[in-house]
């Protein structure tokens, strides 16, 4: 499972990076979304993969941390999900405005000369 997940993270990151290097704004925004999936999964994976042990604690008593999932990467990823939504929204509005002003959806605001 670790192998599968890490390979998948690699594919997500590679697709995302490739798209962010492309000339059309829509490609870049899709790329950023893919990249954020990859990065979120990567951060999440830093807490190791645990099945069937949610970070829901018993009320009181001794708590053995090994029986529960690590909440820290989860808390980090939770905020990262919301923030990546915000970046996507901001970027979308910027590319909409940029296309309105320049008439093109090239990232440089103009088509390549040659």
């Amino acid at each position: 499972m670790e192998m599968i997940l890490s390979l998948s993270i690699g594919v997500l990151v590679a697709s995302g990076v490739w798209l962010t290097l492309r000339p059309r704004t829509f490609q870049v925004i899709i790329g950023l979304c893919l990249l954020s999936y990859g990065v979120n999964l990567f951060i999440f994976a830093m807490g190791r993969l645990v099945t069937g042990a949610a970070p829901i604690m018993p009320k009181g008593g001794f708590v053995d941390p090994d029986n529960f999932a690590d909440p820290v990467p989860q808390a980090l990823v939770l905020t990262a999900i919301v923030i990546s939504f915000a970046t996507t929204a901001l970027f979308l509005v910027v590319i909409m405005a940029s296309r309105g002003f320049t008439g093109t959806d090239h990232v440089d605001g103009k088509e390549r000369d040659s």
Binding site: M3, S8, S15, L49, V72, L78, V107
Partner: protein, 998 residues
């Protein structure tokens, strides 16, 4: 105890006054004067009450610990020397405040002036009272910044902007040097406390860092006090309003440098390097300043160079460093401040009442403004060192030190002659000031008819000149004790015996004075006819000027070099920049992780699951498909992106992260809707872009694919390596153990978000709100591209978009294809509204103990509203529900902050939560921690932000409908007009071919 509070008041009062002053109305001139004057008077009273504590060398301290481990404290410290400087800051401040009331014209914004003046006074006070040398540098830099703002007060004037900028660059750079010196000093001494530093002179002088400390320290002091060759900023700063010059450039700011020299002389002086550099620079400045001052035609220019020269005198005294020299330096700081402030004010009165400051035009003003003339003549005589006035006394002390103190070097031997030479020029320029401006025939071609200024504009000058006279006549009685306390606080037990008497007999100092006066008068008479023709500077100095060197350095450093670097290294193309960044990051990661053994995987293929492999086979296919389709088949790419997102959510659910799965799923919905809305305004890319299959384009794609593959493989390798190693002890253990006992919730993720790390969450929701507002305001000026204006085919009944605009307009009112096709879904979506809201409430309420929480609940609520927009249209929904997303956001933020601050009522730090359970009817036990209230704030901000972004984009379709209507009206107008006119709007889109529309 009273003293401790008083020094706190002294340092805080000006800043409080500044904040108050800037909030007053623009026209409240008298109220501003009352406020600023009140602050200054209060400061003077506080100082008066404090004097008994410091008069015999005592020191009052007050320390607020900040970072004790790094010896960084907010320490205030008042001794006799600082007291004396503070009296200047507050006393001359009071006079300047009154003077400025009459100087500024009604069109000048007074709140800014008085606000900045008070803030500057506060920075100066802080600098003088700082008991920690780092704190001292902080206030030192603040004085630079406020002086920049004050010099540039008339920012519509280019000279003021240039002068302000020059002053900021020079003094700011000096401040950086001073910071370096203070850090080194603190390292050598082992403490940043001023008292400990002052007591550690022997250690510092013997240390290997001493030359560095001395060099950096002196750069700081010399730039601030306008010493040669850094003096050029001061004349440029004369573009400031005259009250600012009278305050900053006579009494306070420029004195900061010499204050520092005197203050640190017990630590740093006594070496050959100190003597040569400080005394040498001081003497050079004294002479250069005096010589150039004689040549200036501008009244304020003359005074500026005279100030430079007098500051040189004080610096030279500090360089000599003997007990008597320090006494003379302190005494001259006071005397110079008094007579120079009065002279600046007099120059301002002349400028104000005649309209010019040019000495070639001014003449015979004693007829039209006799009182001002008398005052200015007395003050100028003090500047020239005429007996019976205060300037004479301290200058005599300087002469006596120059003549009587010896260390056997040639500079020491030359000192008396150099001092007499400079003094000769001082006499000459003082004479020029008096004779050309006030004597001779009355000037006839002045811009204004000269007359006496308003009484209260003259009062400050009168008071200062009275002090000049009284101190000159009765020095011991008036300021003997004050000076003594200042000297004691600097020199301690080494304070010398000295006498402040007017008459010391026919000694060598008096001889030097008399020689200077006779020769100076002769020099002026000989040079007078040529002065007004000379080009503002003696011939040998006009060719080299520090100013031109400075300008050259700035031109090369801030324009040519950056341009050259940009030309070689830069690119305007975003793709090139991105590629560079990605490659650099990848190289950095590879370089730092190469061969790291701890990253070698331990156990591979431990538990392989077919279902999971299949899941991610689909996920990877979606990701790669999205990457391929994003250029030409955007809707397909969006659908595939959603697929990858869903697989991610399922993965979270698989690996014990229900919170993440829920949130990812909900955010996925919102993101997809958002991008769909955005697609409406982006080009429908179906046709191939020209040149897309050229070899270069293919090569670029291949190259990027290699880069991307390396990045992906690297991340995968790191992820795998980390996952195959057991975690060991992590901070997560602590959170897991204490989630319930400390945070009162069983869902550790939620407890971290709203309790343990609530401050981070608070920052995050603030960011979210800012982003939403930015989107909203960016879209307010949105201008859609011309080819996106037409109604999309999905909203019309026909297969093809209407060609005629009339049909387009009618199409708005007709039922569209959209309406018909969406009839059943829209009914379902409307019915789903209450259900969605209930789910949102459920997610929110259970958040503290079970998966859910403010984020998930908020996004669910937003989706509920969003569905209504999708189901019908903007007009329909907004005539039924009024949503005020900005209020949601504002109230949410406010609520979260208030809940956080509530803990302060019980004496706990910001955002400390209290937890308990309450029983709600029908629902049962509900966790009611205050963290839940905080989460409510999070909920509201998330709802507001998400809805605001979506609505802002959705509303653009209304805008384009309006745009279409407007264009049509314009076309009809054009048709009615007799001759055809050129269209002013962008040309209509080319007719869209059926293939493309489909």
């Amino acid at each position: 105890m009273l003293a401790h509070n008083l020094i706190l008041i002294l340092s805080v009062l000006p800043f409080a006054g500044a904040i108050l002053a800037t909030t007053m109305p623009v026209t409240a001139r008298n109220a501003e004067v009352a406020l600023a004057g009140g602050v200054m008077i209060a400061g003077l009273i506080a100082l008066f009450l404090l004097f008994p504590e410091v008069s015999d060398g005592g020191v009052i301290r007050r320390t607020v610990e900040w970072v004790p481990s790094a010896s960084l404290d907010i320490a205030l410290r008042l001794d006799g020397f600082a007291w004396l400087m503070l009296v200047l800051v507050y006393g001359i401040g009071l006079l300047v405040v009154i003077y400025a009331r009459y100087y500024l014209s009604p069109s000048d914004p007074v709140p800014r002036f008085y606000g900045l003046l008070l803030a500057f006074a506060g920075a100066m006070v802080g600098m003088l009272m700082a008991g920690n040398i780092i704190l001292l540098v902080v206030f030192w830099e603040l004085t630079s910044i406020f002086s920049f703002l004050l010099i540039g007060y008339w920012h519509q004037n280019a000279a003021a902007r240039d002068g302000a900028r020059t002053a900021l660059i020079v003094t700011g750079a000096g401040g950086m040097a001073l910071l370096g010196a203070m850090i080194l000093l603190g390292q050598v001494v082992g403490s940043y406390d001023l008292d400990e530093v002052l007591a550690a002179g022997d250690i510092v002088r013997a240390h290997g860092f001493y030359p560095w400390i001395l060099g950096l320290f002196l750069i700081g002091a010399f730039t601030k006090s306008a010493q040669f060759p850094f003096h050029f900023w001061l004349p440029n700063a004369m573009a400031a309003p005259t009250p600012v010059s009278a305050y900053l450039h006579s009494a306070t700011m420029v004195k900061a440098g010499v204050f520092l020299l005197v203050r640190f002389s017990p630590v740093l002086s006594g070496t050959a390097a100190w003597f040569w550099i400080v005394a040498g620079t001081g003497m050079a400045t004294l002479i250069v300043g005096a010589v150039i001052a004689l040549y200036r035609n501008d009244l304020k220019g003359l005074l500026a160079y005279s100030t430079i020269s007098h500051l040189g005198l004080i610096t030279a005294l500090a360089g000599i460093g003997s007990g008597g020299a320090i006494v003379a330096a302190i005494f001259h700081i006071m005397n110079h401040a008094v007579f120079k402030a009065s002279l600046f004010m007099a120059a301002g009165i002349i400028d104000h009442e005649t309209g010019t400051r040019d000495m070639r035009r001014l003449s015979g003003l004693r007829h039209s403004m006799p009182r001002t003339a008398a005052l200015a003549i007395v003050a100028a005589a003090a500047m020239g060192g005429v007996p019976l006035l205060n300037g004479f006394l301290s200058k005599e002390m300087f002469f006596a030190e120059a003549a009587e103190w010896h260390n056997g070097t040639w500079l020491d031997v030359a000192l008396p002659y150099l001092a007499t030479f400079a003094s000769m020029f001082t006499v000459a320029y003082s004479l020029r000031f008096i004779l050309t401006v006030f004597f001779g025939p009355p000037a006839t071609d002045l811009p204004k008819e000269p007359h006496e200024p308003p009484t209260w504009m003259r009062r400050p000058v009168e008071l200062l000149v009275l002090i000049v006279l009284l101190v000159g006549l009765f020095p011991q009685a008036l300021i003997g004790t004050v000076l003594q306390s200042g000297v004691l606080s600097v020199l301690g037990e080494n304070a010398p015996e000295y006498s402040l008497a007017l008459w010391h007999g026919f000694n060598i100092a008096l001889m030097m004075s008399l020689t200077a006066m006779v020769l100076g008068a002769a020099l002026y008479l000989a040079a007078a006819p040529r002065l007004s023709r000379a080009n503002e500077a003696p011939a040998f100095l006009s060719r080299v000027s520090a100013q031109s060197v400075f300008d050259r350095v700035m031109l090369i450093g801030t324009r040519r070099l950056p341009l050259a670097a940009y030309g070689r290294l830069g690119s305007r193309r975003l793709q090139v920049q991105m590629r560079l960044i990605v490659v650099l990051v990848a190289c950095g990661a590879i370089w730092s992780l190469w061969g790291a053994t701890r990253l070698l995987p331990l156990n591979a293929f431990d538990n392989f699951q077919w279902s999971f492999a299949l899941l991610w086979f689909a996920g990877c296919a979606c990701a790669i498909g999205a990457a391929i389709q994003a250029k030409y088949h955007r809707f397909a790419a969006l659908a595939l992106l959603g697929g990858a997102g869903l697989v991610t959510a399922v993965t979270f659910a698989c690996f014990s992260a229900p919170d993440l799965a829920v949130t990812q799923l909900l955010v996925e919905i919102v993101t997809t809707v958002l991008l769909l809305l955005g697609l409406r305004w982006l080009p429908k890319r179906m046709r191939e872009i020209p040149g897309d299959q050229r070899p270069q384009a293919r090569a670029r794609r291949l190259q990027d694919m290699v880069i991307a593959s390396i990045c992906g493989a690297g991340v995968a390798a790191i992820a795998f390596a980390v996952m195959s190693v057991p975690p060991g002890l992590t901070i997560g253990d602590w959170f897991r153990r204490n989630a319930y006992s400390e945070g009162g919730g069983t869902n550790a993720v939620n407890v971290i978000l709203v309790d343990f790390r609530a401050f981070d969450t608070f920052g995050e929701i603030t960011v979210l709100a800012i982003v939403a507002l930015t989107c909203y305001s960016l879209l307010r000026r949105f201008r859609p591209a011309p080819e996106s204006v037409a109604l999309p085919s999905q909203q019309t009944f026909n297969e093809l978009p209407p060609i005629s605009r009339k049909a387009d307009r009618e199409a708005v009112d007709e039922p569209t294809r959209h309406d018909v096709m969406m009839h059943v879904p829209s009914v379902i979506m409307q019915w789903m509204f209450p259900v969605t809201i209930a789910i949102s409430a459920y997610l929110f309420l259970r958040g503290h103990d079970l998966p859910g929480g403010g984020f998930a609940g908020g996004v669910a609520f937003a989706i509920g509203l969003l569905l209504q927009y999708l189901a019908t249209n903007v007009r329909w929904i907004e005539s039924r529900i009024i949503i005020l997303p900005i209020r949601w956001m504002g109230l949410g933020l406010l609520f979260a902050a208030l809940v956080g601050m509530g803990s302060a009522l019980f004496g706990y730090p910001f955002l400390t939560a209290h937890a308990q359970y309450v029983h709600l009817p029908f629902i049962g036990q509900v966790p009611a921690a205050t963290a839940l209230l905080f989460d409510l704030g999070v909920f509201a901000v998330v709802v507001g932000s998400v809805v605001l972004i979506q609505i802002a984009i959705a509303h653009q379709s209304l805008r384009s409908a309006r745009l279409r209507a407007r264009e049509e009206a314009r076309e009809e107008e054009a048709r009615e007009a007799p001759q055809p006119i050129l269209p002013t709007t962008p040309p209509a889109p080319p007719p869209i071919t059926p293939q493309e529309a489909r």
